[in-house]
């Protein structure tokens, strides 16, 4: 089945745990000028070469280097979490990141929102025929770097090549697993009236940074995506607040509004938040103003919202602000009893409004 499924890694000789070059190589890939063609997905020597020279090189780790169709590793007693996410962002490279680093951060964060320590990732690439090898190389290495920085390993993966016009450059799916510290049970249904809502920093950076590079919008900004792995911040939060943490969410698509509505529905509570307490960078506010968007609905890739028992809120906030990824943390509101599960907001103007679910697409293909 290997040829048909085209799984990585391909079995190959190893030397001292490091990846060695394939035995019968004709010529190295022309990474600077070459392009992915259908043979790179056909399961033959070209596939093996693509995997060797781009992915194994970029993701280099002992589990991947064992060269099996699957990664085998020991597990400890306790609870594990698993999460998967597909990345279809356009453009592939954006200020502050690219689809490769995003595919690591996004899934690491989904795992981490359970309070877990992320352990391993699996990665699946769907590449369009004609895609520049230089771009693929750049994406794979960015992904490898992001994984190393996050302390997780990409231990297994897959590549497919689809005909030109059947994809859009490259799509990546990553699946992650992690281990939950004992005594921790975070879930969207655990918010209760009186709990506090803490946001780890300013909202909207990722969505606006991506929009600024869209061909038909292209506006000048020095804003970077906030794309980052949050499990370090989460570990600190778990250390300080422990079982007082009820829910954590990374507000990606649909933004803070979607995250809070989801929690409200699942927990059967409402929220009352204060618009003036929600940090938004001036350049994000300005871009949203111009494009007719609301920062509360714009995607983030390096922020989290935490629902926490009231007595732990202050300590948690202090601890978050001491962490580099939580410096802008703010208490933005609280859970309230509400059968209709509305997320209400006191506007900075002094009135009240609902922060509803997003209807339709605000910004397509943002992650």
């Amino acid at each position: 089945m290997r040829g048909a499924l085209d799984l990585w890694p391909l079995p190959r000789p190893r030397s001292g745990g490091r990846l060695s070059p394939p035995r019968r190589r004709v010529r190295r890939l022309d990474i600077r000028n070459g392009r992915v063609d259908l043979s790179h997905g056909a399961g033959g020597r070209a596939s093996a070469q693509l995997i060797d020279e781009i992915f194994l090189d970029a993701f280099d780790n002992p589990l991947l280097a064992r060269g099996d169709d699957q990664a085998a590793f020991d597990v400890q007693a306790g609870r594990m979490v698993m999460s998967t996410d597909g990345y279809v962002i356009s453009p592939l490279f954006f200020p502050g990141g690219d689809i490769g680093s995003l595919a690591v951060h996004g899934t690491v964060n989904d795992v981490a929102m359970s309070g877990a320590r992320p352990l391993h990732l699996a990665a699946s690439y769907i590449i369009e025929e004609g895609f520049a090898l230089a771009d693929l190389h750049r994406i794979a290495h960015s992904m490898g770097r992001a994984a190393r920085e996050a302390g997780v390993a990409i231990v297994t993966g897959d590549t497919k090549v689809v005909e030109r016009g059947k994809g859009d450059g490259v799509f990546i799916t990553t699946t992650g697993i992690g281990i939950v510290p004992s005594g921790l049970d975070l879930s969207a249904d655990r918010a209760t009236s009186g709990d506090r809502v803490i946001l780890s920093g300013c909202v909207g950076d990722h969505g606006v940074a991506v929009m600024s590079k869209r061909a038909n919008l292209g506006f000048e900004t020095e804003l970077l995506s906030d794309s980052a792995a949050l499990h370090g911040l989460v570990a600190e939060m778990v250390r300080v607040a422990g079982a007082s943490l009820r829910v954590m969410r990374d507000p990606t698509r649909g933004g803070l509004a979607a995250a809070l509505n989801e929690i409200a529905q699942r927990s059967g509570v409402g929220f009352l938040i204060d618009e003036s307490a929600i940090p938004v960078r001036p350049e994000v506010a300005a871009a949203c103003e111009l494009l007719g968007l609301d920062p509360l609905y714009v995607a983030n890739e390096g922020k989290l919202v935490a629902i926490v028992a009231p007595d732990a809120a202050d300590t948690l906030l202090v601890a978050m602000r001491a962490h580099p990824l939580g410096r802008g943390a703010a208490l933005i509101g609280q859970a309230i009893a509400d059968e209709q599960c509305f997320v209400q907001m006191t506007t900075s103007f002094g009135g009240g409004r609902i922060v509803d679910w997003l209807a339709g697409e605000q910004l397509p293909r943002i992650c």
Binding site: N216, P282, G292, D338, T347, G351, G352, I354, D356
Partner: protein
């Protein structure tokens, strides 16, 4: 944000609101209509109604360009888009507007029509230039604000000698719609709406100036205050209207002096006059056929007119009979009084056009204000 935050100052708003409460005569009820969807959106988004005393109420007007576009014209756009040679360029707001038989542009796109969402008329020109084998049709809608950008596109298409670019023109005018509301006969479904004064359009007035409202204010003895779309603009305009009513005046006043002049944007007006002429009549969703209320391309620009190139013949289509968009657009009913509101009709599955655009009265009320239908949750 400079030049924005100043107009969203809550403290100042509360002080103006206190003045409104103080000056509003306790024995009378004030009802003002904000004509524009932009104002409707600001009122809902910033919770302005919470700041007003109970006897000062806002009625939402028909100034949402998406909302007043009749079904027949959306059907036309879908028919155009389904032609294999056509690429239809549209503002994204229009994608989910319900057409006949449950259709909309989003579904037509999924069914294979080449429909592109654009942010500017210039995007459509760019597509026509880069894809010369496609017949690019720009779906032009809106009031006097969006007409000049369409004029610019027409001017550019002519200059670049684009043979594959046309405009499907649905531009409408503000004064005839205000007149239609004030002029409306007593209606079987609830009579004429009582309006004590109008908040006049913001962006529209930057083009038209304040002059077009003079005859309306005089003829119907209703004050008009042209106001910006920021919440403080709206609150101040309400105070200005209230004072006019209290003093028995019906003048046209300009709150939006930072952008609006008496004469308006003369260059834009000249361009519009050069390229467009009045249609004898045009159907408005909710308001019916209104004479001299919409624009079409002049004969001199016939080659850029999609209606002529593709021989578009609009077939009028009726709204869902239970949909109250018509009465809501005339200010006769509140969104929550419609049987479909929040049940069959939500922003995800809109039945009427007022639920589609964020500027529509129903969408604004659903998205921002529906908790007001009950007592505010005590905290």
């Amino acid at each position: 944000m400079k030049h924005i935050d100043e107009y969203r100052d809550g403290t100042l708003a509360r002080s103006i609101a206190a003045t409104i409460a103080r000056e509003a005569a306790c024995d009378r009820h004030y009802q003002f209509m904000e004509f524009c969807g932009g104002h409707t959106h600001a009122i809902s988004r910033y919770g302005i109604e919470d700041l007003l005393p109970g006897n000062v109420q806002m009625v939402h007007g028909p100034g949402c360009p998406v909302c007043v576009l009749p079904i027949g014209r959306i059907d036309d756009a879908i028919k155009l888009a389904m032609r294999p040679e056509v690429t239809l360029c549209t503002y994204a707001d229009l994608m989910r507007v319900p057409a006949s038989a449950g259709a909309n542009l989003l579904k037509a796109k999924a069914a294979g029509a080449d429909i592109r969402m654009v942010y500017s008329t210039l995007d459509a020109i760019r597509i026509a230039e880069t894809e010369p084998h496609r017949e690019v049709v720009f779906f032009a809608i809106g009031f006097e604000t969006t007409t000049p950008p369409t004029a610019v596109a027409i001017r550019l298409a002519r200059k670049k000698r684009l043979r594959n670019f046309t405009v499907f023109c649905n531009h409408v005018l503000t004064p005839p719609a205000i007149r239609a509301i004030l002029d409306a006969p007593v209606l079987p479904e609830g009579g004429q709406v009582r309006v004590d004064g109008f908040i006049g359009p913001a962006h529209v007035s930057t083009i038209t100036g304040t002059t077009p409202y003079l005859s309306l204010a005089a003829e119907f003895a209703k004050p008009v205050v042209v106001a910006g779309f920021e919440p403080l603009d709206v609150v101040q305009a309400i105070l200005m209207l209230l004072r006019q009513v209290n003093e028995g005046r019906h003048d046209v006043e300009n709150q939006y002096i930072r952008f609006v002049t008496t004469a308006g944007n003369v260059i834009a007006q000249r361009e519009m006059a050069e390229m467009f002429e009045l249609r004898e009549s045009f159907e408005w969703r909710g308001l019916g056929e209104l004479p001299m209320s919409a624009l079409r391309l002049r004969d001199a620009y016939a080659d850029l007119d999609a209606e002529r190139r593709f021989a578009v013949e609009t077939v009028p289509a009726a709204d869902n009979p239970a949909c109250e968009c018509g009465t809501i657009l005339r200010g006769l009913k509140k969104p929550a009084e419609c049987k479909l509101f929040g049940t069959l009709c939500t922003p995800e599955t809109p039945m009427g056009s007022c639920m589609v655009s964020p500027e529509g009265a129903c969408a604004a009320h659903w998205t921002y204000g529906r908790f007001r239908a009950r007592d505010r949750v005590a905290v």
